[in-house]
């Protein structure tokens, strides 16, 4: 019995010794290209994802969902496909934002939306459309440095940029503001 145990123990020892020195992945630092490639790969990805956040008093504060979210360690950010964001100000008033693509920087709570961006005031139906917008989920503000269009019923308001405070529901649009208020048909 002792004769057979010794070779097994020896074999195990050799395997352990080998794994210490032989690393199939190799030292990333040894090959920058590999390290670079690893950085560009998401660490994790999830599909049909939704996250809720509640205020200290237990009220629902915001919901963030996406068809797909890929998390990158290096940037501490998630790249989102079809992101949708719902902001609640605790008085049963809410805004919803959506876009084709987005990047969510977790630590800063910054959501950058790109392509077919929509920001809708769920109470008035006022809809802001643009191609790029940055949402600060901590302060509940939104900023856009590219042309924006606000529509409500048939009235249209255009400008070359805007900042919005979702809590006070105020949008400051400038420069080059143009508006058309269409008369409701009698």
């Amino acid at each position: 019995m002792q004769r057979t145990a010794l070779p097994i123990a020896l074999a195990l020892f050799l395997v352990l010794l080998t794994s210490l020195y032989w690393n199939p992945g190799g030292d990333p630092a040894a090959d920058p290209a590999i390290a670079q490639r690893q950085m560009t790969l998401p660490r994790t990805y999830v599909e049909e994802v939704r996250s809720w956040q509640y205020a200290a008093n237990g009220n629902l504060k915001e919901v963030l969902e996406a068809d797909r979210a890929e998390y990158f360690t290096g940037k501490d950010a998630s790249e989102l496909t079809q992101p949708r964001f719902y902001s609640h100000d605790g008085n049963d008033r809410s805004w919803s934002a959506s876009a084709d693509e987005g990047t969510f920087r977790h630590r800063a709570g910054i959501l950058q939306l790109r392509r077919q961006v929509r920001l809708v005031n769920d109470q008035t139906g006022g809809t802001l459309a643009t191609q790029a917008m940055t949402l600060n989920t901590r302060k509940n503000t939104a900023i856009s440095r590219v042309p924006v269009t606000v529509t409500q019923n048939e009235s249209i308001l255009r400008a070359d940029g805007m900042t919005a405070d979702l809590n006070s529901e105020r949008i400051v649009m400038s420069p080059n503001v143009e508006t058309t208020y269409v008369q409701a048909r009698p």
């Binding site: 009235s155 006070s168 105020r170 400051v172 649009m173 400038s174 420069p175 080059n176 508006t179 208020y181």
Partner: protein
């Protein structure tokens, strides 16, 4: 023109602050508002919009300037004041502080003037606290021929410092 009321209202400005909760939008910086032949130039314009449409517009300037073609065969009407409020549903314009309305040489000035667009009627007031009075100027050319040639009777002075006039000349003193 009467059909102006159905025209869309177009506004251009440097900046706009839209308050969705309280239903108004403030335009600032080189503000120009146009609705058909009606045009307002001001430094600040506030549009109060209920759900459906813009129903009240307040223009402020030093002064704010409104002009409109009341009828095809009449000259442009120019209205100036520090505050011009336009009540669309009532087709009424209220001018406040250093208000004046001019058309075809006639001029009405006072502290506040109400201009009823539909009836083409102007009502001017001066505040009792101030020594100012309503001033009405009607060029002779605007008077009907009988009054131009012979009857030079001075229109009766309105008792309460207000006068109503139809743009284009004749004053109905009270």
């Amino acid at each position: 023109l009467p059909e102006d009321r159905q025209e869309p209202i177009r506004i251009t400005a440097d900046k706009a602050v839209r308050d969705e909760k309280n239903g108004f939008t403030v335009y600032q910086g080189n503000v120009m508002m146009q609705q058909g032949t009606l045009r307002i130039d001001a430094t600040k314009v506030t549009v109060f919009h209920s759900d459906k449409e813009a129903d009240r517009i307040k223009a402020e300037g030093s002064p704010a300037h409104m002009r409109e073609q009341p009828q095809a065969d009449k000259g442009l009407m120019h209205a100036r004041a520090e505050v011009i409020e336009y009540f669309k549903a009532e087709e009424r314009v209220l001018l406040k502080r250093n208000a004046s309305v001019e058309q075809d040489g006639s001029r009405v000035a006072g502290d506040s003037i109400e201009y009823f667009i539909g009836q083409q009627l102007i009502r001017a007031d001066s505040s009792a606290s101030d020594s100012g009075r309503v001033e009405v100027v009607i060029p002779a050319s605007a008077l009907p021929n009988s009054q131009q040639n012979g009857d030079q009777s001075t229109p009766s002075t309105p008792s309460d410092n207000s006068a109503e006039e139809e743009p284009g000349g004749t004053t109905d003193g009270q």
